[in-house]
């Protein structure tokens, strides 16, 4: 027999009390794990939404002449006199150090064309990149697949009385409307989107680019660092991070994280208190037993080891249960409470080990005083029968 057998047998004897002891600590760990899981899912959700928001970096030519706004942002001079961007700049962005964080890179060339006596902005895009950038676009008809196919904004379609498959004359060239954008409520409703090369040729500015929109996955990466790297690669361009949407979401996450930490500390303190009171009661109940142990030659450290072993076992069980229950709670209640689409159900070994370690640590730390007290018990007082 070893000391651990004494601890295990004692825990088995006090099934009811041990159940509540484990339950108390498990509830604490469940809360912590569910809050961490929800935080992570919230972060993932924000990341996903960031992708849906589209571009979060805008690259403009360095120009004093600001003559057009696009998507609520000023765009450097359409005249593109001194400093222009080139289609090759878009390729360079793909080669920066933080290239794995780059999602879509969408170069655009913007001009104005006259159709049926109406001046309408014409935006040259690479449709494949544009589709990745603007996941919220709904197209009636199909996305352009050829150079002579275009996409027109909702308002353009209304003003020109056009439908999908209708032909249109742009700069003397006949093109076909492959699709009409569903109403976006943005300036996209007023634009004609055509293939970038087609627009460059039509407006006689081959390879020129008005601006480049970049979508970077930045919920975990420092967006400022990506901006710095692009600026270094394109010294002739002005690179700006669009931070507003990111910031408000990140602030929400930050508030939730702070709230989670506060709640976690409180519940863990309560868990620790439950262990403490339970262990104190156990030590008090076992006075006589401790007296016997001391009388037959147990050292003070042996008594402490028995108590700590019990706390360790309780902490381990509560850690495992708390981790699993925490995942369960966040999976089932996260979507209800925070309106998340889903909370990830994955067994994260680091989190699992962390939960078990934390639970065990709380169990053992809360038992320090009861263990010291037990070890200091006067054996003659403990053994009143003597």
């Amino acid at each position: 027999m070893r000391l651990k057998d004494i601890s295990i047998n004692n825990l088995k004897r006090r099934k009811g009390k041990v159940f509540f002891l484990i339950l108390g600590l498990t509830i604490g760990m469940t809360t912590v794990i569910s809050l961490i899981s929800i935080s992570r899912s919230l972060e993932e959700d924000i990341s996903k939404k960031l992708d849906e928001f589209g571009a979060n970096i805008l690259i403009l030519p360095r120009s004093e002449d600001l003559s057009l706004t696009y998507g609520g942002m000023s765009i450097g001079g359409l005249t593109l006199d001194a400093h222009t961007l080139n289609i090759s700049d878009a390729q360079k962005i793909r080669q920066i150090e933080a290239q794995e964080n780059i999602g879509a890179v969408s170069p655009k060339f913007v001009g104005v064309v006259e159709i049926d006596g109406k001046k309408i902005p014409l935006v040259g895009v690479q449709f494949e990149e544009e589709q990745r950038l603007k996941k919220w676009w709904k197209v009636h008809g199909t996305f352009p697949k050829r150079q002579d196919e275009i996409l027109i904004g909702h308002e353009v379609a209304v003003r020109l009385f056009k439908s999908p498959q209708d032909p249109l004359l742009i700069g003397g060239k006949e093109v076909r409307i492959s699709g009409i954008l569903g109403e976006t409520g943005s300036q996209d409703d007023f634009f004609i989107f055509a293939d970038l090369s087609f627009v460059q040729e039509t407006l006689n500015r081959p390879k020129s680019v008005s601006f480049i929109e970049v979508s970077a996955y930045c919920h975990t990466c420092p967006i400022d660092e990506i901006v710095r790297q692009i600026s270094k690669t394109l010294p002739h361009a002005k690179v700006t991070a669009i931070k507003q949407t990111l910031q408000s979401k990140m602030e929400t996450l930050d508030h939730f994280k702070k709230f989670s930490v506060a709640i976690s500390i409180i519940v863990l303190m309560i868990g620790g208190l439950i262990v403490f009171t339970n262990m104190m009661a156990s030590v008090h109940e076992r006075k006589r037993e401790i007296g016997i142990f001391r009388a037959i030659g147990f050292r003070k450290t042996h008594i402490m080891r028995i108590i700590f072993l019990e706390a360790l076992i309780v902490g381990l069980i509560a850690g495992v249960l708390g981790y699993l229950m925490g995942l369960g709670v966040s999976y089932f209640f996260g979507p209800v409470v925070l309106g998340l689409e889903r909370v990830r159900w994955t067994l994260d070994p680091t989190l699992a080990i962390g939960a078990i370690f934390l639970s065990t640590l709380i169990g053992v730390l809360s038992s320090v005083y009861p263990a010291v007290r037990a070890s200091k018990m006067d054996p003659t007082e403990a053994l009143r029968a003597l």
Partner: protein, 224 residues
């Protein structure tokens, strides 16, 4: 050199007007292989003497040596080791651990040693056979009679083969017949060379002992 020797052993509890002199100037010499019965009325200091001999209760003054070791000069942890190696305790109300089986109670003092489990069980088996408890190893204390519980307590006290056995009223909670059986067991242990110091209220129990010491008001009234 005597196995146990006390010189001017005194123990006081409390202070001022509430001061109680539990033991006063007790001088004893107990030789190896002796069976000592300690008698005396309640409050005479019997239990105090036993706890002091057991290394559990520091005397207020005086000296006590066991096998030449001044036990109260040992650091606390060494004193605990001394208790484990030199002393076997038998308590009045058995004092078994209720959630441990018979065999687990018996090997309890070995649980903090390096002795392998198999050897622990072998030793316990031998002792249980010696005291007539074979077949009841897996029972819990509350599934045993008073006499059987006392035997388990004796087995636990003997598992370390201690040179000295200290017993406090070992028949106090037993019926006459079982009490006699236990005393007979003590007698045979003593005949095998075991040194025993037994506190008892029952004069009949003293018949088997080699020497009787009577205490009154903390002093040795008879026998030294």
């Amino acid at each position: 050199m005597s196995l146990i020797e006390t010189k001017g052993l005194s123990k006081m509890y409390g202070s001022g007007e509430e001061r109680v002199n539990a033991l006063m100037g007790v001088n004893l010499r107990i030789e190896k292989g002796e069976f000592i019965s300690v008698m005396g009325p309640s409050g005479s200091g019997k239990s105090t003497l036993l706890t002091i001999l057991g290394g559990l209760n520091h005397p207020t003054s005086g000296e006590i040596t066991m096998d030449g070791i001044s036990i109260y000069e040992l650091p606390p942890e060494k004193l605990a080791d001394f208790r484990r190696e030199y002393l076997g305790f038998i308590f009045q109300s058995f004092q078994l651990i209720p959630y441990l089986t018979v065999i687990e109670n018996v090997v309890l003092p070995l649980s903090i040693t390096d002795i392998p489990n198999r050897e622990q069980m072998k030793k316990a088996g031998e002792i249980l056979e010696r005291i007539g408890l074979i077949g009841k190893e897996k029972r819990l204390p509350d599934q045993l009679s008073g006499g059987e519980q006392e035997r388990v307590a004796i087995a636990r006290a003997l598992i370390n083969s201690p040179p000295i056995l200290l017993a406090d009223e070992p028949t106090g909670n037993l019926d006459t017949k079982t009490g006699k059986e236990i005393i007979e067991l003590f007698k045979s242990l003593n005949q095998e060379g075991q040194t025993i110091v037994m506190v008892t209220h029952n004069p009949d129990n003293t018949r088997v002992s080699s020497r009787l010491i009577t205490l009154r008001d903390g002093r040795v009234e008879y026998g030294k």
